[in-house]
């Protein structure tokens, strides 16, 4: 190119390039034509749909809505105002006013943000008439949660204001809006919430609203949230909460034939209405900071403990499947089991059989440690190496949903722990571990950890003779089938035929006069169950009980866990059987037992612990 031509060439080139860019921006690319929040000439208003109601399995209303009024602010439209009057109307201090105002300005001067949340109906009525005096502020109607029945806060969860992190993750939400942050409100947020409607209103250059923007072609209607029916049986749930009063722990009841959770109790519980209204954050903080009784900790889902004796059921099933034992294999127990050559290699047993041969059935109803330690050892030693044996055992346990999240629709959960060969290789890097090193696993001690819902699911699996439906909390969503994964059975690695002898043993826990729960027998209901005690190095042992009923065609499988409840038959056993009775018969045949449980308190036990803790801290 000749030198004088370069600049002319560039001028024409840039001119064409810019015109092409303008053509793209102004004519081709439509994405800019949709009004954005930054567009001050278009005002955006939201129409919040009513959040879906929540019902129990029998149509009892658990969660409804009440109207609430928020004061919104658009900082750039605020004109000088009588702050004294405004503050007194809103019942806030001048400092609050300045703080809230600064926060809103910081967020955006154009986009509305919540100034004061959830006014009472009276305050609203009073304020409504004076609102015109305060330019830049307006009242936004919203619906709030209301709980007609004070029950199951751990299941229902709560909604709270979105924080900035959530907004970043999901642009649907704006500062000041509400989102389900726990329980069903969280897992089914999208269904319950519905979709807010958006209206774009055109303003002229003098900020007056002159009608819908572009004749409303971008406006959307609010889509109401869907109502949800839970699998919870409210009567059973409330009964469970009453039985657990003044005791810490959890109850999980499952319908084996569907995996539906009938009750999910965690105590201490609280009134769900505390999580609503202007006192919400105060109440929440109080509950949240209660590190002693931890009311927000769902003990049914999150408490991990060694399961103790109920785990023997699994040991038996795995041993039968591995052909390590048969139903007639017998062991003689002399108050314990010597599993190694060392002095301390001895596991105590209180089965009280004193050397008479113990077969599977008796081993279960007497809960003989020696028998299951032996069975466990045989499983491991059936394989070429302890490593392979351990892995085989682990595979069976995992097929029951143990050692992992159940992958369901509950907002919290814990994995528990089922060790495998690698686990022990890490602890004994030289590989010097054998069946006897890990023998405590056989009786649900050692490394094994489970949550109450995992135990309840194990029970349901036994009740079903070999499979389970993933435990879940939602039964129906209006206009939507529940997830298919809840209607497909999960089969275990144990053959069906091995379940019958084990179930007979669990039946004899109640039926045999020497069974560990024979005194809890309920007339007319064939219950199968197992007591358990989880050793607690920090204090009194925990009381555990699992059961299902009826023996044939089971309707309910249950796991009860009472913190510091001494042993299984003391608290957890009666509570479990009372729950079963309540569910199957509607009332108990043992009012004295019911009375004892309703009024029984472990508060002394907890106070004692608290005292010890404070003494240590001092």
């Amino acid at each position: 190119m000749k030198r004088p031509g370069l600049l002319s060439f560039l001028i024409i080139f840039i001119g064409i390039a810019y015109i092409i860019r303008l053509f793209y921006l102004q004519v081709i690319d439509n994405s800019y034509n949709i009004p954005t929040l930054n567009n001050s000439a278009v005002k955006i208003t939201y129409d919040y749909p009513e959040r879906g109601y929540i019902y129990d399995r029998n149509g009892i209303l658990l969660v409804a809505n009440q109207l609430s009024y928020d004061i919104m602010i658009i900082p750039r439209e605020v004109k000088p105002l009588d702050t004294v009057e405004f503050c007194s109307l809103l019942k806030i201090t001048k400092e609050d006013f300045i703080k809230k105002y600064t926060k809103a300005v910081h967020y955006s001067t154009r986009i509305p943000s919540t100034f004061v949340q959830q006014l009472s109906k009276n305050d609203f009525a009073f304020l409504q008439e004076k609102m015109h005096k305060f330019r830049g502020f307006y009242i936004q109607k919203r619906s709030l949660r209301q709980y007609p029945i004070k029950s199951a806060p751990n299941v229902l969860g709560y909604i709270s204001e979105v924080n900035e992190r959530m907004i970043e993750k999901n642009p649907y939400y704006q500062l000041g809006e509400l989102i389900g942050t726990a329980g069903v409100e969280k897992t089914y947020e999208d269904d319950l919430r519905g979709t807010k409607g958006v209206k774009y209103i055109q303003r002229n250059r003098f900020n007056k609203e002159i009608g819908p923007y572009k004749n409303g072609i971008y406006d959307t209607l609010a889509i109401p949230g869907n109502d949800i029916s839970l699998t919870i049986d409210t009567k059973l749930q409330q009964y469970g909460e009453a039985l657990m009063a003044n005791k810490r722990g959890g109850i999980v009841a499952i319908e084996p034939s569907s995996g539906e959770i009938l009750a999910l109790v965690s105590t201490p519980t609280y009134d769900p209405n505390l999580m609503v209204g202007r006192e919400r954050s105060k109440n929440f903080t109080k509950l949240y900071l209660d590190s002693i009784s931890k009311p927000l900790f769902d003990r049914g889902l999150q408490a991990q403990y060694p399961p103790g004796s109920p785990f023997k059921i699994f040991t038996a099933l795995a041993a039968l499947q591995e052909k390590a034992i048969d139903t007639h294999t017998s062991v003689k127990c002399f108050g314990g089991y010597k599993y190694g050559s060392g002095k301390n290699a001895f596991m105590k047993c209180h089965c009280g059989t004193y050397g008479s041969p113990v077969e599977l059935n008796k081993a279960i109803y007497r809960s003989c440690n020696s028998y299951f330690a032996n069975a466990y050892k045989r499983i491991i030693e059936k394989h070429a190496t302890p490593y392979e044996g351990m892995n085989a055992w682990n595979k069976h346990a995992e097929s029951f949903g143990l050692g992992n999240y159940l992958n369901n629709d509950l907002s919290v959960g814990k994995k528990g722990l089922i060790p495998d060969g690698d686990y022990y290789n890490r602890y004994y890097p030289n590989g010097r571990w054998r069946a006897s090193t890990t023998i405590s696993n056989s009786i649900g001690q050692g490394e094994v950890l489970t949550t109450p819902i995992q135990l309840a699911n194990l029970t349901a699996t036994v009740a079903n003779r070999g499979f389970y439906f993933t435990p879940h909390i939602v039964k129906k969503i209006k206009g939507k089938e529940i997830d298919k994964k809840y209607t497909v059975p999960n089969y275990t690695t144990i053959d069906k035929k091995y379940f019958e002898p084990v179930i007979e043993g669990l039946f004899d826990v109640f039926e045999n006069p020497k069974g560990t729960a024979s005194w809890s027998r309920v007339k007319g209901i064939e219950i199968c169950g197992k007591t358990g005690t989880a050793e607690n190095p920090h204090g009194q042992d925990h009381s555990i009980f699992i059961a299902f009923a009826p023996k044939d065609n089971p309707k309910i499988a249950i796991a009860v866990f009472v913190e510091n409840g001494y042993w299984g038959s003391r608290w957890a056993g009666p509570i479990a059987t009372l729950m079963i009775e309540k569910y199957l018969n509607g009332e108990t045949s043992r009012p004295w037992e019911e009375e004892r449980m309703l009024n029984g308190s472990l508060q002394d036990e907890y106070d004692k612990q608290l005292k010890e803790i404070t003494e240590i801290e001092e």
């Binding site: 030198r3 004088p4 370069l6 600049l7 002319s8 560039l10 001028i11 024409i12 840039i14 001119g15 390039a17 810019y18 015109i19 860019r21 303008l22 053509f23 921006l25 102004q26 004519v27 690319d29 800019y32 034509n33 954005t36 930054n38 567009n39 001050s40 000439a41 278009v42 955006s108 154009r110 055109q202 303003r203 002229n204 250059r205 003098f206």
Partner: protein
């Protein structure tokens, strides 16, 4: 002849004058739209910004006449002195200047302020024209190159120190002039490579750029080795030398960017390079301006109907972002028409420059074409989101007296020079 010569309007190019008034008029219309407020509608309020702009425009006519009153010879003869006065006025800012928006770029005269950097462009163009038209002048020589560079360096460094790096950037326009007048092509090639390396370094980091450019140079070496063995024997040392210089350059770009630039400078580049997308704070201006322009569509929303312009939320819309008003209210048709007007205007200047017999006039004309071109390219490029946010005005459009007068002086000195083209000097 004498009488004709005494008529100060004799021989002037009316096409350029027409361009000037058309552009200024369109500019004012848009300033009016961008700054009119509710209570002033229908009135002409001289204390408002559009009102003040009318005064500036009105006063530009005596200014033009004043420029025409001097003989063309005057501008050549006193080029150096005008240049020195201009440098002095820039330097004087550090003592007497008034700080507005963090930059000491203004002299305050009570009712109005003047920005000497807007006039320094014309003075520098005169000085450059004087230097290049010297008979001794030869751009192939190193000495001459240094002289030319120094003429640009002084105003540029004084303006950078104000600090107003955007206005200083305009002086790169003279590279076109020097190229036109015989500066070896590799200067431009080197500048181009430097800009490329600059962008790549900021986008991909200096380590990647070092590795990438090393591979590129390796490929060049291999190419010469295989296909031009002779050239290779002579050239490989040179190529290695070039690579070392490039590496040094890449390091210093990284250093300057991370240690000399302030965060707001870095942010501007990062948005342009797509490394940041925080449209709410840093990129707010660009995002707003692009959205505003795009909302204009094919035909625009009409005069005073641009809701985003009237909503007053493109910042500095009447100054650096005036093009957004055109985009929104006059649409693709209006904004591309303005670009076409500028293209024709610039081509006309070049056409006239090329027909000058005097080398001084030619170089001056070419200089102002390059300056206008740089202003238009950077300003519109920024507003439509193709260049980083560099705050320099759009000639004849942006609100502000100094800018308007500066561009008026720039243009009308050239028209005066051109009017004399037929005469002996």
């Amino acid at each position: 002849m004498r009488s004709k010569k005494n008529n100060i309007f004799y021989g002037i190019d009316w096409v350029l004058v027409l361009f000037y008034f058309v552009l200024v008029f369109i500019g004012w219309i848009n300033i009016y739209s961008a700054t009119i407020t509710e209570d002033q509608l229908g009135l002409i309020n001289l204390s408002s910004e559009y009102g003040k702009q009318i005064i500036w425009i009105g006063l530009s006519i005596p200014l033009i006449i004043f420029i025409f009153m001097f003989e063309a010879k005057f501008y050549e003869k006193y080029a150096s002195i005008l240049y020195l006065i201009s440098l002095t006025s820039l330097a004087g800012l550090f003592i007497l200047g008034k700080n507005i928006n963090g930059a000491t770029s203004w002299y305050n005269f009570g009712i109005f302020s003047l920005q000497p950097s807007e006039f320094a462009k014309a003075a520098t163009a005169l000085a450059m024209a004087k230097l290049v038209s010297d008979k001794q002048f030869n751009l192939k020589k190193f000495n001459t190159q240094v002289q030319a560079l120094l003429i640009l360096f002084f105003p540029a460094i004084l303006i950078t120190l104000q600090p107003d790096p955007g206005s200083a950037l305009v002086y790169t326009a003279f590279i076109f002039v020097l190229y036109r007048e015989g500066l070896p092509a590799y200067h431009i090639t080197i500048s181009f490579i430097a800009i490329l390396l600059f962008i790549i370094t900021l986008t991909f980091g200096y380590i990647n750029t070092l590795i990438g450019s090393f591979l590129a140079f390796l490929l060049i070496l291999l190419f010469f080795n295989f296909y031009r063995k002779k050239a290779f024997k002579k050239g490989w040392l040179k190529i290695i030398g070039v690579y070392l210089v490039s590496a040094l350059f890449i390091f210093s770009v990284d250093f300057v960017f991370n240690h000399v630039f302030e965060q707001r400078h870095r942010d501007r580049f990062n948005i342009l390079l797509g490394k940041t997308s925080d449209i709410k704070s840093i990129g707010y201006n660009t995002d707003q301006s692009v959205t505003t322009i795009a909302s204009g569509g094919l035909f625009g929303k009409g005069f005073l109907e641009g809701e985003r312009t009237q909503g007053d939320f493109v910042p500095e819309q009447q100054t650096d972002y005036i093009f957004t008003t055109i985009g929104e209210e006059w649409g693709f048709i209006g904004s591309s028409l303005v670009i076409i007007l500028f293209v024709l205007f610039l081509l006309r200047i070049i056409q006239i420059a090329e027909r000058q017999k005097s080398k001084f006039s030619r170089v001056y004309g070419y200089s102002i074409a390059a300056i206008f071109f740089t202003h238009v390219t950077i300003n519109i490029g920024m507003v439509i989101g193709m260049l980083p946010t560099i705050g320099i005005p759009l000639p004849f459009f942006s609100y502000g007296g100094s800018a308007l007068w500066g561009f008026t002086v720039l243009l009308f000195i050239f028209i005066r020079l051109d009017a004399n083209r037929t005469y002996e000097w």
